[in-house]
Each structure stands twice: as structure tokens, then as C-alpha cells.
Symmetry: C2
Subunit: 383 residues, 2 copies
């Protein structure tokens, strides 16, 4: 049997050209050849986040996992005495709050009422009306629950009720497959990672900060990290984007090459919007079939807040989770188990982002559906 296809919510399957770029022969990190590639990747990163250079925002492409983006937020945008509010829709929101607790003594969490639900916006409004938060974080897609938060709406409320709060978005599993307009929605910091819908192997922390976020980072008196210190990275990123070399720590040359290739694929139609829309269409179609044809139940409690980069689904009654994952592997697909508190053995997750879904290899996504249908049948499941 051929290799299993990776349909977890990241790392995803990579396009042939991205993988080829991973094997780019060595280049000096300050060579003219590499500077050009890094410059191009930074410029395109802005376009993925819908941010123009005139907004004085600052993209960061750093060697590290997505988690490093949490520390970039904590170490630079959060002061010890700051009040931080985390909107939680699952495991990853909670983990982000654990990171922020390293940097602030006042981290509050406002949780969704139940697993699979979004945060109640009336409660949120009342919370931020009563207490002025310095930083508010939203997990756009919580990869544990598949819940999509409405960043646009939440940001509007913040602008209205608490305009001085910095708006931080964990978009690790959302960037390039969910709408996000960095400049026009007035977001202050967004973080993502290479191995999700960005379509590049794991190893890059990718983020962007607004002018006022950068000003806060630069005004920090005493650094709380060295590797995650924006003060050190800003001149480096500015130099590369301007087509000049600079050095603080060695960039992951091959991953940046792969990123540059992948961003070309993502922006092929001229903007990121078409790619995002294609994910929506593919995801809605898949979820409809899961629910209507297979009779499965999604974890997100409404289609309106189901994320488009993955489907998070309860095991049907009588189906053992381990058996289903093993059967899917036999049928050619690696999918993921649950990952939230007491619920983790009750549901599974299928990631559907990137080349296998909306790119050259998009025929693989329907094959994944067929494999799921077959696996359930083989385990005796009937709708």
C-alpha cells in the first residue's frame, strides 16, 4: 500500500513544489540569493494577512513552532501588571492562557458555555465594559473543538467598548483558510504556523503586529525573553523586507524557500480571498455529507461557527475511537483523535487544508470522505 495521507489539522500534505523547495541546496543566510527569497516571503506574508506596508505593521517569520507566537505575544505585548482576557473555545485557547500567565499576573478566561460552543458575546461585552483589559485574545479556530470565533464581530465590540485593548488573534489553524482583514478590522497581533493552511512543513512561526503593538513592544523597559524579543527581530525583518541582509539568529533558509513557494500558490489568483473561499466551499460540502449522508454529529454546535480547515466529529454510538483511527490508517489516511479534557475519547478530527483540498491534489479530499464511509461500514456502523 502507498503512504498514508496526512489529514490531521496540521501538519498537512504539502504540494510537490513546496517539498522540492525544502531540499534547496545550502545558501548563506545573508547571501543576495537568500535575501531576495526572504524579502519576497515577507512581502507575501503581509498579503496573506491583508495588511499593507502603509499601515506600518510588521510581519515576523521566525524559526520555531507555532507556540513561539504565543511567547512573542506574552514577552512583548503583555506587561506583568497588564490585565489580559482570553476568550476560550477549547484546549488551545486554554494553552495560550497558560503561556500568558508566564508574563502577566492578571489573566482572566471567558469560556464558551459548553464544548463546541462559542463565547457568549453579551457576556463578553459586559465583561469588558466592567473591566478595562490591556490585551484581549481570540482563538480564531480552536483546533481542539473546530470552533470558529467571529473575529470581525468580536473586534467591533472591542473597538466600541474598549478601544485601548490590544486585539490578539491566534490564527494558527485559521490563516489562509478563514477570513482575516488585519488592517481593516484593526487587529494588533496575529500568529500562525507554517504547517497548517500556510502549506509548509512545521518549523516556522509566522506573525504580524500592528503599529500600536510594535510601539508597546519597543517601549518595554526590560526584556523578558531574548529569542522572542521583538526589539531584536524588528530591525532584522525590516532589513530583509527592504532587500538587505541582517543577523540576529540564523533563519531556517530551506523553510523560508518553501514558504515563498507556498505563498505563491496561495496567492495565485491575486489575493488570499479565493483560496479562503475554496476552503469554505470544500469544508461545507464535506460537513454536509458527514451530517446528512453519514448521520454524524459535529462538535461545533452550529454550522455558523464550524471552522473550515478541519471537521471535528463525535464518534457515533457503538464505534470505538481507536478502531476507527486504525481502520482509517488501513484505508490510507492518518486522522487525529480528540484533545480536550473529558471529551478527548469522544470525538475525532479530520484536517482539510491546503493542496489536498483546494490545490493540485484536491481529489484526495473526496477520497478521504470515501475512506471514512468505508471505515465506518467496516466497523459495522449504520446511519
Amino acid at each position: 500500500m502507498s503512504r498514508k495521507l496526512t489529514f490531521i489539522p496540521g501538519p498537512i500534505e504539502f504540494s510537490a513544489n513546496v517539498l522540492k523547495a525544502m531540499a534547496t541546496p545550502s545558501q548563506a543566510h545573508t547571501s543576495p540569493e537568500f535575501i531576495k527569497v526572504f524579502q519576497s516571503a515577507l512581502q507575501k506574508t503581509r498579503r496573506v494577512f491583508c495588511s499593507s506596508p502603509s499601515s506600518a505593521s510588521q510581519p515576523f517569520i521566525l524559526s520555531g513552532s507555532g507556540t513561539l507566537g504565543w511567547d512573542l505575544c506574552g514577552a512583548n505585548l503583555v506587561n506583568r501588571s497588564d490585565k489580559v482576557l482570553v476568550l476560550s473555545t477549547g484546549f488551545f485557547s486554554d494553552s495560550f492562557s497558560n503561556c500568558l500567565k508566564v508574563y502577566s499576573d492578571h489573566v482572566d478566561i471567558l469560556e464558551a458555555e459548553s464544548f463546541g460552543d462559542v463565547v457568549d458575546l453579551q457576556k463578553f461585552k459586559s465583561k469588558i465594559s466592567n473591566l478595562q483589559y490591556d490585551v484581549i485574545t481570540i482563538t480564531q479556530t480552536d483546533t481542539s473543538s473546530g470552533v470558529l470565533s467571529n473575529v470581525e464581530e468580536i473586534s467591533k465590540i472591542i473597538k466600541d467598548v474598549s478601544p485601548n485593548s490590544l486585539i490578539v488573534v491566534d490564527a494558527v489553524c485559521a490563516t489562509a483558510c478563514e477570513s482575516l482583514e488585519f488592517d481593516s478590522w484593526g487587529i494588533d497581533y496575529v500568529l500562525t504556523a507554517s504547517q497548517k493552511a500556510i502549506g509548509v512543513p512545521a518549523g516556522l512561526s509566522i506573525s504580524i503586529a500592528s503599529k500600536r503593538a510594535i510601539e508597546k513592544a519597543l517601549s518595554k523597559e526590560k526584556p523578558t525573553s531574548f529569542f522572542a524579543d521583538m526589539k531584536r527581530w524588528i530591525p532584522i525583518m525590516q532589513a530583509y523586507e527592504a532587500g538587505k541582509g541582517a543577523y540576529f539568529a540564523t533563519p531556517a533558509v530551506q523553510l523560508v524557500h518553501a514558504l515563498d513557494v507556498s505563498l505563491d500558490e496561495l496567492l495565485a489568483s491575486g489575493s488570499i480571498h479565493e483560496r479562503i473561499n475554496a476552503h469554505k466551499v470544500a469544508s461545507d460540502n464535506f460537513k454536509n455529507k458527514l451530517v446528512n449522508e453519514l448521520g454524524l454529529k459535529l462538535v461545533p454546535t452550529s454550522p455558523s461557527h464550524a471552522a473550515h480547515g478541519l471537521s471535528v466529529v463525535y464518534y457515533p454510538e457503538g464505534i470505538n475511537g481507536g478502531d476507527l483511527l486504525a481502520k482509517m490508517a488501513e484505508n490510507g489516511f492518518t486522522i487525529a483523535s480528540g484533545i480536550y479534557k473529558d471529551y478527548k475519547d469522544k470525538y475525532f478530527r479530520i484536517g482539510h487544508m491546503g493542496d489536498s483540498v483546494v490545490g493540485q491534489r484536491k481529489d484526495e479530499f473526496p477520497q478521504c470522505y470515501e475512506a471514512l464511509k468505508k471505515s465506518l461500514q467496516q466497523l459495522g456502523y449504520k446511519k
Copy 2:
């Protein structure tokens, strides 16, 4: 003309099989296929550092640049009130001290008397006799000066005079091309990076901590970092080394594959010692020719403390640095400029580690020598 060869002190040229492994198709980070590779890479990392599992040491293979290893030291092994001593032989030692100042209020630096020299060991002995340091750091090879510090001798002095001090070695440009016996020399923490003599593209921070270093990290009451928190990484590394999956942050799957392949090449003779010795022979031969045949002057003030992974050389009189680097590029090689304070325009650096020097492609190193000879001649240099 064919591609220029990268002969800077990292990133280095990579073997064909390492580059091939970089393009490994996607795998889930907790899949049985990847767990096996990560387990193997962790076990071999121990062997590179000459540390046995029975010593209860802990290797770390993390997504990030070499600089992250400094934060791992600072955030876990250094408390705010700790006294830290940095032995400085150049730019990278000084940068390490800048990192440690983020985590401790008492960082002292003991510098070599002059650029190119090692730290005076009598002065060092007297310094640590007068003040008890909690942590002492040694930069084994300072990549800015090409100075090799005698880690074995310095460690012996510490064991003798200040046995409670943790011994930390920045071996970024030394691991796999300079001797280091982690267990038998009693070292507490060594950090390196993938893109130097380890022979893997940039993107991995690789390190190992001793039992007492781990105990100090685990006893820390309040974390000072999230991404660089050893408490979070230790169970993950232990799980993978035991052949089980675990999750804190997504590992760089393709880089770990490349690392596993490279470590096989490094340990092909059964231990790391032969590889290290081959670097020494190649380096000594090259330096002898630079000095005796070309009449050049090395930055390290004695051959006994010249590092073996690179050669750091003063421009001869009448030769403009920019011209020499450009001429070398024309002749097929990227080499590096200087990087230390007022000296940076006075010298150049040729990295000579890995496959192009002691591996399958070792004929490229003599070609680099010929290119240098030719470039100098073209610029009118006469011995």
C-alpha cells in the same frame, strides 16, 4: 557557472541524503512512523555528546534557531539572583551574556586579553576562587574569532575550585567537530544548532542537560518562558525517546528526518570521535597552507586554540575585504566577513565543516583553498 558553494561557518553544505530527507512527505507528528525517527534522532544525539542514558541526562531537539539554546539555559538554569560568569572569546560569547542578562541581575564577563586570544586561566581561577558563581558559561568555538576554548581544562578548574557551579557550553560551532565528553567532563548543559557541523539545514536547536541541571530546571517555582520551558519539554522528549508520541508544540518533522540521516553519517564509524578527528586533520592542513604557502595570518593567536570548524584570517595588507569576498564568489565560493567590533573589516572567515570537508564531497575543501589562492592572486596579492 554552477551554484556557489557555501563555505561560511554555518549554514554549511549538506549531503545529498540529508537534503533528500528534507523533502520527506508529510507525516503526523505523533504517527508511529515519525515517533521512530524522533526516537532514533534523540538516541543518536546522546552519542554525539558522548552521554549515556544511565547518566540521566536529557537531550532536547526543538524547533528554533541556535539562539533558542541560550534562552533554554537562561530561562531554566539561571535564577534572577544567580551569579553568572561568561568567559568571552568574541561576539557570540558577548551575545550569550546579553541573553543571560535577561534572566539574571548578576552577569559578569571575563574577556580574553585581546581579540584572538583565549581567556587567561589563572585570572579565571582567581575570579572563581573569590566569588561563588551559580553558572559559568564557556563558548567552545566563538564563531566570530575562531578561538577554541579548552572546555576540558576549564571544567577541571571549575570542578576543583567551584564544584557547585553549573558548567554551560555554547558548542554551536563546535559540536561534531571538536571533542566534548559530556558525561566524563561533568558538563551540565551544552547547546548547538543544526546548520553547523551537525550537517542539517537551520531550524533545530539541539542541546543536552545533566541530571543536576534538570533538577534545577524542575525546581524552578515560576516559569520565565513558555516555549523555552524545560519543564514542558522534558516529558515530551522522554516520551519520544521511549518510543511514544507526546505533544507540547509541533516538532519540525522534516528537519528531524534530516537530522536522523545526518547523525547516521556522523556516527558511521561507530562513534563521533573519528569524525571529530577528521575535522582536526583537514583543518590543520588547511591552516598550515594558509600560513606557510600563502603567508596569511590567523586571528587565533596560537594554533593550539584555533578552532577546527572554521578558519578566521586577517586580510593581507593591500587587499580590500569586499573585493576578496566578491572574487571568491566569482570563483564559486561564499565565504564570510568578520563580525567583531572594530575588527570586523579586518578579517574574513571560511567555514569548513561536514560533508564538503570530511564527507562524500570532501574534494570541495581543497577546491576552496585553490579558489582562495586564485582570488588573492587575481587581486594582485603576493606572499
